[in-house]
């Protein structure tokens, strides 16, 4: 409500008092949100402890888990961060109001400034040229403390453009045919041909694979053809120049090739061709078709489709900015960078789009990952956001490193096993690299990029990557102003769900991004979903007043549509699991340690001897060698010397927990 008021006032003119009231409102809101966030954290912690009690765990056991995980300390740090952020934001707002010219004299000064528009321009130019406060590495560490203006200093459109041009430089310039006249409509085929030559140039010099190159060419051709269609509809100018459209089309090709190359370098998330073209644009166009079928009187036209494509081509460009190439501290702000980069090219895109359209494109780039959905009032923005949010359910985001090298899916499974056993994953990362080196069919650049991606893999990779395979998008249908999204459980999902205990994690995540927090509601996905007369599980999201704007149907696996890749992955998973089951002694060790870990009274010399005896008797000679047995005995004996020192005892118990046999070490590539 407040936002609406401010927008109207902006048009009508605002008094200093109104600014002050508005600032106060926002400050109060920030205080309230901050306080709620902190008390919510405390309450959730209490709930978690109660959940532990319901599980019939003893207080000591709950405390022990909390202590091991440092939950209290981590929560406190988070709450301090919330307090600091709240304080900082309020101070920033107060500062803006403080410099409010209140007296007539100050008004006069302000008017004088008004009389010199160039000084304002200069000031604003200076503002945009703010120098980065830290080096990129330092900035990532301090990202949360930076203001938006300081953050934006790390996104220099000139540098991004220079880096992109350097990366895409071709030894042989592609052939470019001349136009028969200035007119685009008379030369659209020539533009298409020149774009084809450019893409072939990139394929020829291994900047992109033939498969992805073809997808980029086809998508750019669709874009060029849409411009022709929009001209016929009268939604874009009739007198477009061929040279201008060629420049825009080249820009799209360059950005797609570049984003794909950059995306190869990151293990987390794919922001290349599969995400943008196979995922977002394909899904968005299907949504436009459905919307238009249901709304014949207010259809989205070719210009709208062009704008949607332009947004998707540009929305993740912010990931290519230097500070976002490493770490994850700053990547959440990629959308602001993407908007800035696009706005820096408004001269070029202004040759196709009007001022209002450019503004809408920039704004929607900035809000592309938001949840707000309203097909009645904002169908355009809703389609952009929904298509991006649905990326979770098209496998378009599965990172290259796993997708390109099937053998690496098994390594991912081992990373999960290593994580659960508290082991280092460095050896497995090396294994990933070896697999990439062995795999045939990569050009040198792709191989290098995949090696870099392997470096970035962390212990959370299985959750992140495999969770993305939960389900698949299976069409849309518009009913009035409600979009129905069909999500079909993928056959791969079941095995992954069992293996990595993901349950309905991705469905839960999708609901979470639309503000439905099942954990807070103390309910599970299966309890939350409704079931209609046909037995279909569904969730409706009331995004605006009145009717729900979105309905997700969760459909069971389609037995007639098996994914061919799954058989290989399933086999690989099963092989790895069988191999691990045949060699690992995790259960035996944990069971032997249990009493010593849980009960202080049990920590006696006699008990330790008996644990040692029992463990050795339980272990199968197929799993452990004589040398392994010897090492284990020595670790257990070490416990005796620490009986008087609880801290030392826990540490030695931990060493025993982490003990790996020779076979386990080889399997998990631990040196």
């Amino acid at each position: 409500m407040v936002e609406k008021k401010s927008a109207e006032d902006t048009e009508a003119g605002i008094s200093p008092e109104q600014v002050e009231i508005f600032a106060k409102e926002k400050e109060n809101e920030i205080t309230k949100v901050g306080e709620n966030a902190v008390s919510e954290g405390k309450q959730e912690f209490e709930n978690a402890i109660q959940a532990g009690t319901k599980l019939e765990l003893k207080k000591e056991e709950i405390d022990q888990v909390a202590e091991e995980m440092q939950v209290g300390k981590n929560l406190q740090t988070k709450q301090e961060e919330i307090d600091a952020l709240t304080k900082e934001s309020k101070e920033k707002i107060s500062k803006i109001v403080e410099v409010q010219p209140e007296s007539a004299q100050e008004e006069k000064i302000a008017e004088k400034v008004e009389e010199q528009p160039e000084s304002i321009e200069k000031k604003s130019a200076e503002k945009t040229e703010t120098q980065p406060k830290y080096s990129e590495e330092e900035a990532r560490k301090n990202w949360k403390t930076l203001s938006m203006e300081e953050k934006m200093a790390y996104c220099d459109p000139k540098i991004v453009s220079k880096e992109m041009n350097n990366d895409l430089q071709l030894k042989n310039s592609p052939e470019s045919k001349s136009f028969s006249s200035e007119s685009f409509s008379e030369n659209s085929e020539v533009v298409n041909e020149n774009i084809r030559n450019l893409v072939e140039g990139y394929i020829g010099e291994s900047k992109i694979s033939p498969e992805y190159g073809e997808k980029i060419r086809k998508s750019t051709e669709d874009y060029i053809n849409l411009i022709s269609k929009a001209q016929k509809e009268g939604s874009v100018a009739e007198n477009l120049k061929a040279v201008d459209i060629q420049k825009i089309s080249e820009d799209i090709v360059n950005k797609m090739v570049y984003q794909n190359r950059e995306s190869f370098k990151r293990g987390l998330g794919d922001h290349g061709v599969r995400h943008i073209i196979d995922g977002n644009i394909t899904e968005a166009m299907k949504m436009v078709d459905e919307y238009n079928k249901a709304n014949p009187e207010k259809q989205l036209n070719s210009l709208d489709r062009l704008k949607i494509m332009t947004i998707h081509f540009n929305h993740d460009m912010g990931y290519t900015v230097g500070v976002n190439r490493k770490g994850f501290e700053s990547t959440g702000d990629h959308k602001y960078f993407s908007q800035k980069l696009f706005e820096g090219q408004e001269d070029m895109y202004g040759n196709l789009f009007g001022e209002k359209d450019l503004k809408q494109i920039g704004e929607t780039i900035k809000t592309h990952d938001e949840a707000q959905t309203d097909f009645e009032k904002q169908p355009f923005e809703s389609i952009v956001r929904l298509s991006d949010n649905m990326g979770l359910f098209s496998d378009s985001k599965l990172p290259e490193i796993f997708y390109s090298v099937p053998e690496n899916m098994a390594v991912l499974q081992k990373i999960d096993l290593a994580r659960k056993s508290g082991q280092s994953i460095d050896g497995l990362k090396e294994k990933l690299k070896e697999n990439v080196m062995k795999q045939e069919g990569f050009d040198e650049d792709t191989r290098k990029a995949l090696i870099n991606a392997a470096e970035e893999i962390n212990k959370m990779a299985p959750d992140f990557n495999l969770g993305m395979l939960a389900g698949k998008l299976d069409g849309y249908e518009m009913q009035g102003s409600k979009m129905i999204v069909n999500i079909r459980e993928s056959d791969m999902h079941k095995q992954i769900q069992d293996l990595f205990e993901l349950n309905q994690k991705q469905f839960v995540k999708a609901l979470d991004s639309y503000g439905i927090k099942l954990d807070k509601m103390e309910t599970t996905f299966d309890q939350y979903v409704k079931i209609d007369a046909d037995g279909t599980k569904y969730v409706e999201l009331p995004m605006s007043e009145g009717e729900p704007a979105l309905r997700f149907n969760f459909l069971p696996e389609d037995l007639n549509k098996k994914d061919e890749r799954n058989a290989e992955v399933k086999k690989k998973f099963a092989e790895t699991a069988t191999e691990w089951a045949g060699i690992n002694i995790r259960a035996e060790i944990n069971s032997a340690m249990k009493e010593l870990k849980e009960s202080k009274e049990a920590r006696t010399s006699e008990n330790i001897d008996s644990v040692s005896f029992e463990l050795q008797a339980q272990l199968d000679d197929k799993k452990v060698s004589a040398e392994d047995r010897e090492q284990m005995s020595s670790l257990i004996s070490n416990l005796k010397s620490s009986l008087d020192n609880e801290e030392e005892f826990t540490e030695k118990l931990n060493q025993l927990r982490k003990f790996l046999t020779k076979k386990e070490k080889d399997f998990l590539a631990v040196k």
């Binding site: 401010s6 006032d9 902006t10 003119g13 605002i14 008094s15 200093p16 109104q18 600014v19 508005f22 600032a23 926002k26 809101e29 920030i30 949100v33 966030a37 919510e40 954290g41 959730e44 912690f45 709930n47 959940a51 532990g52 599980l55 019939e56 765990l57 056991e61 888990v65 909390a66 995980m69 939950v71 981590n74 929560l75 988070k78 709450q79 961060e81 919330i82 952020l85 709240t86 934001s89 920033k92 707002i93 803006i96 409010q100 010219p101 008004e107 302000a110 008017e111 400034v113 008004e114 949360k144 938006m148 959440g332 927090k517 954990d519 807070k520 259960a587 944990n590 069971s591 249990k594």
Partner: protein
């Protein structure tokens, strides 16, 4: 007119700070929830391990 522009700019700046705050607080709340979710997961694991150990004992 000048102060009008100034005031409009200020409103826009306040809105930007507020929007940025909401985005950041959303992330922090999410991280906070993740800490707790991980804690609950570990408690559940502990419970499962207890049951498993019990079953091992029976077998």
């Amino acid at each position: 007119m000048s102060s009008q522009n100034d005031n409009q700019k200020k409103i826009a700046e306040i809105e930007a700070i507020h929007a940025e705050y909401m985005a950041q607080i959303k992330k922090l709340r999410k991280q906070q929830n993740e800490i707790i979710a991980e804690f609950v997961k570990k408690l559940e694991e502990k419970k499962i391990n207890k049951i498993r150990a019990l079953l091992n004992g029976i077998n």
